[in-house]
């Protein structure tokens, strides 16, 4: 199994400084940071669909944006095909941007309401000097076809499309520069139920056709189960558990993962699953306490959880959970690679 490692994220953190003014920095009560992403590590292999799940506020969107350097990381590194993208100059970064794209959650907000579909898709060509005039228009029409829209859609404005069509437009724009890697930030959450399937299908087809690698972010776990090869569960800026889709959904180990999955309602009244309820509410990511992030709500919490960060427990070469109080597991994945 020597698949190429496409994206490697190492100890990535993104903190937002809450102290807004200069004076507050001097006279304030000390540091106040929103630690949206607090040290995450993972590797995304070429061609796979890598899932990042968690509740709102867990930092998944922030993580995704930091990975493609839409936000500057506070510390840590992101390697794209071995290149540390945070050390690149603006020029070099602009070139790399062609390989890393994103599809946003809200199809309406991410499209310029004053531009036609044609202009929206052609703009990346303009920015990078790839094509112009007739050549650009030709490419635009091809892209429209790729995402299931018709040529006459090219001269419409975003508000003249339905939600699903707008998302297709967003996908077409992301494909314009022929990227290798696309972040899908909750691509169907804002869409009507009946439309989701079509968009998901499109996303899968495009992946096969163009050999794309996806980072798929969602809070809808049932979608993630269908789509993702690998799944990472995030909570308050850290990864709680990571593994293949089967490992996470069938043999999950972490108490948070268990609670999360048990809470998903099943469209079958005969299967009323036993839900694991967590006490309390999600704490704020501002200056979190030391130790495990999950300590305030965990059913298995003990003293050590409040002091030390949880160790990694490996259940297979790909399946790892970070917890003090669960059984089994090895200290490193090496054990399984023999």
């Amino acid at each position: 199994m020597h698949e190429k490692i496409f994206i490697k994220v190492e100890n990535l953190t993104k903190w937002f400084d809450l102290r807004s003014s200069f004076t507050e920095k001097i006279f304030g009560e000390g540091e106040r940071y929103v630690k949206a992403v607090d040290g995450i590590n993972f590797e995304i292999k070429e061609g796979e669909t890598f899932g990042l799940v968690g509740e709102s506020g867990c930092g998944k969107s922030t993580a995704a944006k930091t990975i493609i350097r839409l936000l500057e990381p506070t510390s840590g590194s992101v390697y794209f095909k071995g290149i540390d993208i945070n050390r690149l100059t603006l020029e070099e970064m602009k070139e790399i941007r062609r390989h890393l794209q994103i599809v946003f959650q809200d199809p309406y907000a991410s499209l310029n309401p004053r531009a036609t579909a044609h202009d929206i898709i052609a703009e990346p060509f303009d920015i990078h000097g790839v094509a112009s005039g007739e050549e650009a228009s030709y490419k635009v029409l091809t892209l429209l076809k790729d995402v299931g829209l018709a040529p006459h859609h090219a001269y419409r404005y975003p508000h003249e499309f339905s939600g699903g069509q707008r998302q297709r437009l967003g996908i077409a724009r992301a494909l314009a520069l022929e990227p290798d890697f696309i972040v899908m930030d909750e691509p169907v959450s804002n869409l009507d139920v009946s439309v989701r399937a079509a968009i998901i299908q499109l996303i899968l087809e495009l992946q096969k056709k163009m050999g794309l690698t996806y980072l798929f972010i969602a809070h809808d776990l049932s979608l993630v189960k269908i789509l993702c090869d690998e799944v990472n569960v995030m909570y308050l800026g850290k990864i709680m558990e990571s593994g293949t889709s089967d490992e996470i959904f069938e043999s999950m180990m972490h108490p948070y993962t268990k609670a999360l999955i048990s809470a998903v309602p099943i469209a079958d009244p005969t299967k009323r699953s036993k839900k694991i309820f967590l006490t309390g509410d999600i704490p704020t990511p501002i200056n979190p306490p030391p130790g495990c992030k999950f300590q305030t709500r965990c059913p298995l919490v003990s003293d050590i959880c409040r002091i030390e960060e949880p160790p990694a427990r490996w259940y297979s070469a790909s399946h790892v959970a970070y917890c003090h109080n669960i059984e089994g597991g090895e200290e490193s994945p090496e054990f399984y690679l023999k």
């Binding site: 839409l70 970064m93 946003f104 991410s110 202009d119 303009d126 920015i127 724009r173 314009a176 520069l177």
Partner: protein, 289 residues
């Protein structure tokens, strides 16, 4: 891809506008057009040379002199019409300068934020707190009498307000989702400002321009009234008002009323035009799906 002012869009918006907005727009347009005609053709259409003094001093309005004559025997009507050129001209110049500077400062401040922003906001807010007219007055006193000086004074008075408006507009557009998308595509700051933020400025430009003219006319008249502003013998509405003031109580009403009417026409015309334009171009009614 660029900024194109599409006339079809305007016509479309115009048709959708409520009746009152259209009315405002058209009435305003009428008045403003009248004034523009005066500006362009003033000297050619007036019966008398505005500077020619005569012996028929302080003559009330008659067939010979529509608006009477002033204390030096100059035909008031001719002076008013030709004066439009200077009064409106100064206003226009003032408004334009104020807008441009406000735009430059406001957009940089809004877009780049940081220390520059904080500094500018501090500066502008301090100026903004000053009663606007007092500010202009001080500038006019500092700069002295004269058409360019007055225009500059009025321009400076208008900068803080414009700065604020452009800055908040910039910030609100900057935060919108599609700007983020542009960054991912690799667009530079310059590209984003030029192609994506500027269109929003354009849509407020026309309204701000006409609104500024209204304000400017009034301010200029005020300055002229106080003896600053445009120096004699150049005809200027405010100066005429000032000159006519001592004669008002002795029954020579036309010296004050007619300049006042011109200022009024300018004010009403530009205000209505800008209101109508604003309502037409920025439809806030939500379309029912």
């Amino acid at each position: 891809m660029g900024i194109r002012i599409r006339w079809e869009n305007f016509v479309k918006l115009y048709k959708l506008a409520p009746f009152s907005a259209k009315g405002n727009f058209l009435v305003g347009l009428f008045f403003v057009s009248l004034l523009v005609i005066f500006v362009l053709f003033g000297p050619y259409i007036v019966p008398y040379n505005p500077l020619t003094m005569s012996d028929s001093e302080l003559v009330p309005p008659s067939l010979e002199h529509f608006m009477g004559t002033d204390v030096l025997g100059r035909d008031l009507f001719s002076r008013m019409v030709v004066g439009t050129r200077y009064s409106l001209g100064a206003s226009f110049f003032a408004t334009l300068i104020g807008l441009i500077i406000g735009l430059l400062l406001g957009s940089s401040s809004g877009f780049f934020g940081g220390k520059l922003d904080r500094l500018l906001v501090l500066l502008m807010d301090s100026l903004y707190v000053f009663p606007n007219f007092i500010l202009m007055l001080i500038m006019a006193i500092v700069l002295g009498q004269g058409i360019w000086q007055s225009a500059l004074a009025i321009a400076i008075g208008g900068i803080p307000g414009r700065f604020r408006m452009i800055r908040s507009l910039t910030i609100s557009v900057k935060e919108r989702g599609f700007i983020e998308a542009e960054r991912v595509l690799g667009a530079s700051n310059w590209h984003i400002i030029r192609y994506h933020i500027t269109p929003y400025y354009l849509s407020v430009l026309f309204v701000q321009l006409s609104l500024g003219m209204a304000r400017g006319s009034l301010s200029l008249a005020g300055l002229g009234f106080l003896g600053l502003g445009i120096p004699p013998p150049t005809p200027d509405w405010g100066a005429e008002l000032n000159a006519g003031r001592p004669f008002y109580l002795s029954g020579h009403w036309w010296l004050v009323i007619f300049p006042g009417i011109f200022v009024l026409i300018a004010m009403i015309g530009f205000n209505l035009l800008s209101e109508g334009l604003d309502t037409i171009m920025n439809p806030t009614m939500r379309r029912l799906h």
